[in-house]
């Protein structure tokens, strides 16, 4: 703890965090790279130990970043702290940031580092599948699409024998083809949008031609495995007793309203749901950095072109600034690392910075076109019943939240959370936050606002900790003077 502070702490070792740590380290900064995983790579490059990259996209980029990281960690420039989760970041006045760490799970590592101090911090915290509850979604056998993929990539385990992959967005395709290639039968990919729509936006798609080629590859793989691709369709109900046995698939219009008379039932034992991604913003919010609604309707961190957040010394890169995939995340991570180095007084690599900013802008245009083509259907809340569980942790139903709104005036997420308890359980609203905000806004006949999402995104502890860890904290320092608003 009395170790001198690092120049930069990077949180997350996925595409953005790896690139940030490598760029900052190679620019001469002393860097701590904190990551919950046992190996770098994040969710995108999640792999079993010794994996050779088969089935991974852009593995060469990962392999190159990893070997550069190894060179840096072999010296003293970068300290990699795997299997550590940040549960809080504190700071008094101008003192360096103190990141409080906890093992990723009990006994994860014998060398627990309880805290790291750093003069600046780069948040590369990624995201996770965005979920829309439907009746039956709490049955075992219903999983997040990303979880199905993680099980396959990390453990070589196929989550079911006969699957349906449902929701919206391009990520459904690799999940479906991954399952089919591993031997599962994929009954259908059920896509709420009509993806031909994004082909009609040549600007965005042409800006990153590699992506379009990738998409064509998945389409060919679906054909090869004879997987039906149902568009303008949604899984509106999951059936089963102790676990999933079937789903109801309905045709929906562009707004998500069910088209009557076009219902079908598919017998499946696995449902993989994905409605885009939700960025992990707990540390961004905890540090008081600005957030806004991104192109896909989720809360994202506000950053300038160089990836500075609105709080000095804080940088954000990757999905946390707006979901856009690994290539965008790598470029953003590198730029954030370089910006941190420049802000710490290192010479500015102007040309490289400009090139990265242009690459990011291009990727953002493409992501915006994707998001516009794969929106969360406006009327999805019409698929819900009163008894549908909204908050999985606390088993709060849609009816309970609606009663709180109608009878107790809980029209905003903050009040609804206090009165009906959605988002008060173990996951702290990570899973139901977006849906709760959407449900309340729909009930009030208005659009979801950034404030709605912020209310459900505030998590004073970013990970559960033991009382022992809290008790081991040093005495709080004297309260800092109020910061001068002009310099804070």
């Amino acid at each position: 703890m009395n170790e001198r502070p690092f120049d930069l702490a990077v949180v997350g070792a996925g595409p953005a965090g790896l690139a940030a740590a490598v760029a900052a380290g190679e620019s001469g900064l002393r860097v701590a790279l904190v990551d919950a995983g046992p190996r770098p790579g994040g969710q995108f490059w999640r792999h079993a130990e010794g994996a050779d990259g088969a089935g991974h996209h852009d593995w060469e980029t990962f392999a190159s970043l990893r070997s550069r990281l190894r060179r840096l960690t072999a010296g003293t420039r970068v300290r990699h702290l795997p299997l550590h989760q940040v549960w809080a970041v504190d700071r008094a006045g101008d003192a360096p940031f103190t990141l409080r760490l906890t093992p990723a799970f009990d006994g994860a590592t014998d060398e627990v580092t309880p805290a790291v101090r750093a003069r600046a911090i780069a948040l590369c915290t990624g995201g996770y599948d965005r979920q829309l509850p439907v009746p039956g979604w709490t049955l075992p056998g219903v999983m997040a699409a990303g979880g199905v993929q993680a099980l396959l990539k990390g453990s070589g385990t196929v989550a079911g024998r006969r699957a349906v992959v449902a929701g919206t967005g391009p990520f459904l395709l690799p999940v479906a083809t991954g399952l089919a290639a591993a031997g599962a039968e994929v009954a259908a990919v059920v896509e709420a949008a009509r993806p031909a729509d994004w082909l009609r936006r040549p600007l965005g798609a042409a800006a990153v031609p590699g992506k379009a080629v990738e998409g064509a590859g998945y389409a060919a793989a679906l054909l090869r495995h004879r997987v039906p691709y149902l568009t303008r369709s949604a899984v509106t109900r999951v059936h089963g007793g102790d676990e999933v046995t079937a789903v109801t698939v309905e045709r929906v219009d562009g707004s998500g309203r069910v088209v009557p008379g076009r219902t079908r039932r598919l017998a499946v034992d696995l449902v993989a749901f994905g409605w885009g991604f939700t960025p992990s913003l707990e540390l961004v919010v905890a540090l008081g950095a600005g957030t806004e609604r991104g192109a896909d309707g989720s809360l994202v961190a506000t950053v300038d072109r160089a990836r500075r957040a609105t709080v000095p010394g804080v940088y954000v890169a990757g999905e946390a600034t707006g979901v856009g995939g690994a290539a965008k995340a790598v470029a953003e991570g590198e730029l954030a690392g370089l910006t941190a180095a420049v802000d710490a007084g290192r010479p500015a690599p102007t040309k490289r910075g400009r090139r990265l900013a242009a690459r990011i802008a291009r990727a953002e245009r493409f992501a915006e076109a994707m998001h516009a083509a794969h929106p969360v259907p406006e009327r999805w809340t019409e698929w819900l019943t009163e008894a549908t569980v909204l908050c999985r942790c606390e088993e709060v139903t849609v009816g309970a939240v609606e009663r709180a709104r109608e009878d107790l005036g809980a029209g905003d997420p903050r009040t609804a959370k206090l009165l009906a308890r959605p988002g008060m359980g173990w996951c702290q609203g990570r899973v139901c936050g977006f849906a709760t905000a959407a449900l309340l806004a729909a009930g009030a006949g208005r659009a979801v606002t950034a404030e709605d999402l912020r209310a459900l995104g505030k998590r004073p502890l970013a990970a559960p900790v033991t009382l022992g860890e809290l008790a081991a904290l040093p005495e709080p320092p004297d309260p800092p003077d109020f910061p001068d608003p002009d310099t804070a």
């Binding site: 979880g147 102790d242 999985r392 173990w426």
Partner: protein
Amino acid sequence: MTAELPTFTLTFEGRPLTARPGQSVAAALTDAGIRAWRATRGEGAPRGLFCGIGVCYDCLITVDGRPAQRACLVPAAEGMALTGAPPPLPRPSGADEGNAS
């Protein structure tokens, strides 16, 4: 895909499971056809894996007597004993053992 690697054994509720090195506890359970290992506090509803990446806490399990571990994150290990329900809380000495249910 890695079937040729040596396997090892752990147990769930006393029943032996086979796992491969590098698999998570959740993966070993899934391979054994076990989809749920916990009941919710309110409805007693069965739960197992959901997010699969440590975010949702639905897959909580007791590992070697340590409650509330995320099955999706904890690597399976030789001889590990998994149980769905957490172990009973230690009782204050002198408490009436007759009311243990």
